[in-house]
């Protein structure tokens, strides 16, 4: 029989000394992003900018107002110029990104899985990764001509190295115990790669996509500024040369929206594919 103690839940026995609460000292160090504060701050900043322009405090040539920028975007959209420029840029980004990503995933898996590929690959990647890829564009133009190829190749190169690195770090980060578990059940090599290493490396690969998407955007604009008739980069450069700053900002806003959309797409992919985390 259990000897149960009673009356334990009652108030503390009245002593001589006064009761005082234990001081709370666990506050802070856990910042949380609010849902609305960011948007309100953004709108406030845009409002101030608009007010400064409307009041004539800022010269609209140097900083067009948000309304003027929106108007420029609208005009570009209506005239069809926006889509023409955007479609060139998107085509270059998508082609370059896919080429670089496919090559990066193959090489990354090679480095992650094979000793030979690792010894050779890491040396090359360490040597070539730090080169600003845009510096290679003139050389690529010499090799590939002045068409789309050198621009796409620049983007593909930039994407390739980052992807290869994130893929092999992802493969390296797959818990050893999961691989040993699969081996202990005689799961064949290809199935371990497909069922254990690929999903295990996916978080790192998707995080890499976030970086390579912004690399691709950066490189497409740079490449288009160096030599292109169409494309958002070319458009922004032309607008600058003609002092059409509202058009220039319109191009920048379109780029930023494009970047945001890609970020959203990757978020969506992460929630779909990494729901298990």
């Amino acid at each position: 029989m259990l000897d149960r103690a009673h009356d334990q839940a009652g108030p503390a026995p009245a002593g001589k000394a006064e009761l005082r609460p234990v001081a709370f000292r666990g506050a802070g160090f856990s910042p949380k992003a609010g849902r609305h504060a960011g948007w309100i701050a953004l709108l406030l900043a845009i409002g101030l900018w608009q007010a400064a322009g409307s009041a004539g405090i800022v010269n609209p040539l140097f900083l067009p107002t948000p309304v003027a920028t929106l108007r420029a975007i609208w005009q570009l959209a209506v005239s069809g110029a926006l889509w023409q420029h955007l479609s060139y840029s998107v085509m270059r980004i998508v082609t370059g990104w896919i080429l670089g990503t496919v090559a990066g995933i193959i090489v990354g898996f090679g480095i992650g899985l094979s000793s030979l590929a690792r010894s050779v690959g890491i040396t090359f990647i360490s040597a070539l990764f730090p080169i600003p890829k845009i510096a290679l564009l003139p050389l690529l133009i010499l090799w590939l001509g002045i068409g789309e190829e050198p621009k796409i190749a620049t983007i593909a190169l930039g994407v390739f190295f980052s992807t290869a690195i994130s893929v092999y770090s992802g493969v390296d980060a797959v818990p050893r115990n999961l691989i040993r578990m699969a081996q202990s059940f005689n799961v064949p090599f290809h199935a371990i790669v497909r069922r254990v290493i690929w999903p295990g490396a996916l978080p790192s690969i998707l995080a890499g996509f976030r970086i390579t998407a912004s690399i691709a955007l950066l490189l497409v604009v740079s490449a288009e500024m160096i030599g292109a008739e169409y494309g958002i980069g070319a458009f922004v450069l032309q607008a600058g040369n003609l002092m059409q700053t509202d058009q220039l900002l319109a191009g920048v806003v379109v780029l930023s929206l494009f970047g945001l959309a890609v970020g959203r797409l990757i978020n969506w992919a992460e929630t779909r594919l990494l729901h298990w985390r």
């Binding site: 115990n177 202990s184 059940f185 005689n186 199935a191 254990v196 298990w276």
Partner: protein
Amino acid sequence: MDCFVASLLAMTPSKAGYGTSAANGTHMDLIADHITHRFGALEVLDDVSFTVGAGEVVAVVGPSGCGKSTLLSILGGLLQPSAGAAELRGAPPPESLNPLTFVFQDFALLPWCTVEENVEFPLLDSGPTPGERKTIVDDALRRTGLSDFRGTLPKQLSGGMRQRVGIARALAVRPAILLMDEPLSALDSQTRELLMEDFVRLLADGSMGAVYVTHNLEEAVRLADRIVVLSRRPGRVREVVNIPLTRTERGDIQAWEKLLALQSELWSLIREEAIDAEREVQHA
């Protein structure tokens, strides 16, 4: 103490262990044959030999760092020993898909797979048709009380339930010998007790043997037919102790005293070395 252990050593192994797989005409022994292992200059195991008969449960105990887990990896073919070998004698049961099957300390569940998918994982490339796989998985989940958790992800499960998934996965391939690497040490004591009862039940009919690596002497005396006591690093076989009770008998309240006595004998065998081993680890 020596006298007590010697009397245990003199006893024949418990016959309770030699169950159905021997009766089926299949009989597979797992043999540690003079296994020595070094990691670089560090000698971890030194000339370890013992045999695990069909349906027999052998616990391997010893102070921390004595190479228990390394030994299990070698026995299961996940690590090549520097010298000696892990060997099998006899044929495994024909229905076994993976005669030597691990149950891991950290469960080693695929976090992106549901309970059901984790249990099915070792079957995907080993032959059974989808229909057969479903039957096998259903059976393994039922035996481990996981039938209501098929669609659950590992992160949603408690530690004890996760290890049950690990056990269900092992059962699905119908092992001849389970290689259990401290399967309870990541769990709290209440969960440990519950799983211990499951182990006793699973191993009761002698259809599976097991090598049970643990630092917990209570687990060893409750589960094992024999206990291999390793010395501190480099691990050598110090003693092999037979447990003179069947696992069913050990559930009896009268047996507790005997088991406790045995446990304390074992502890006195290990204690000095455990102290040395602990100091060594702290110096390292």
